[in-house]
């Protein structure tokens, strides 16, 4: 399965190895790991709770994968996204693209991450000593996703 939503952690080494297993056609695997980072402000982050829309989230991720495969000659694609309550330092997401050549792998990986951030139905609840609040979407993420639209 190229697209998964799960609460448990994933094994980065095993997941990436699978993208080039059983074939000698892959010359490049580009990947991205997103982690729960400490909050930039004064109040320490206790946890991040990730919510999703079961059904639609997987559909959107599948559509993002399909678009990447239309745009670049890819041998394999992987998106694994966690949901639930995560501590600082924990992995949230793994995105990877495997191709014969590195330019396709790099471009596709970045495209997948940009599109995921802008379109996949996930929401983050930030929990600190002073309470909880839903994170707002960044205008940066919308811009990052939009730069692929003109291609």
């Amino acid at each position: 399965m190229a697209v998964r939503v799960q609460s448990e952690d994933f094994d980065v080494g095993a997941e990436l190895a699978r993208l080039s297993a059983g074939t000698h056609a892959v010359g490049a695997v580009a990947s991205f790991i997103g982690l729960v980072r400490e909050s930039p402000g004064d109040v320490p982050l206790r946890a991040l709770t990730l919510e999703h829309y079961p059904g639609m989230t997987e559909r959107q991720l599948g559509a993002i994968e399909a678009e990447a495969r239309r745009r670049w000659p890819l041998e394999a694609v992987l998106i694994v996204h966690r949901v639930g309550r995560l501590q600082p330092g924990e992995r949230i997401v793994l995105v990877a693209a495997a191709s014969r050549h590195r330019n396709a792998a790099f471009d596709a990986c970045r495209f997948l991450v940009d599109r995921l951030k802008a379109r996949a139905p996930f929401w983050k609840l930030e929990e600190t000593a002073t309470g909880s609040r839903w994170l707002e979407a960044g205008a940066d993420d919308q811009r990052a996703a939009a730069r692929w639209d003109g291609d």
Binding site: Y53, G55, M56, I92, A120, F122, W123, W134, L135, G138
Partner: protein, 83 residues
């Protein structure tokens, strides 16, 4: 019609899900949001700024002029923040 709410839309409305039968005059997403606002103070608060809410009809993003039908699954949620 099955309504689903996520993130702060869910906490504002106080429900994750409800089944409603909109009146015949509700034909599109914009009309549905206007009608939902009248369902209670939580709904009114969640939909005070309709531009802050994203809508999906049958698990695809929908614009305000997209038609809605009684059998649809309609979801309301804030702009996404995954990854």
């Amino acid at each position: 019609m099955k309504l689903l709410y996520f993130a702060w839309v869910r906490t504002a409305i106080g429900l994750a899900e409800e089944r409603l039968t909109p009146p015949p005059g509700v034909r599109d997403v914009a009309g549905l949001l206007e009608w939902l606002k009248t369902r209670g103070p939580g709904h009114a608060a969640a939909l005070a700024e309709p531009a802050a809410v994203r809508v999906a009809v049958n698990q695809d993003y929908a614009r305000p002029d997209q038609p809605v039908a009684p059998g649809d699954e309609v979801a309301l949620f804030p702009p996404v923040t995954g990854g």
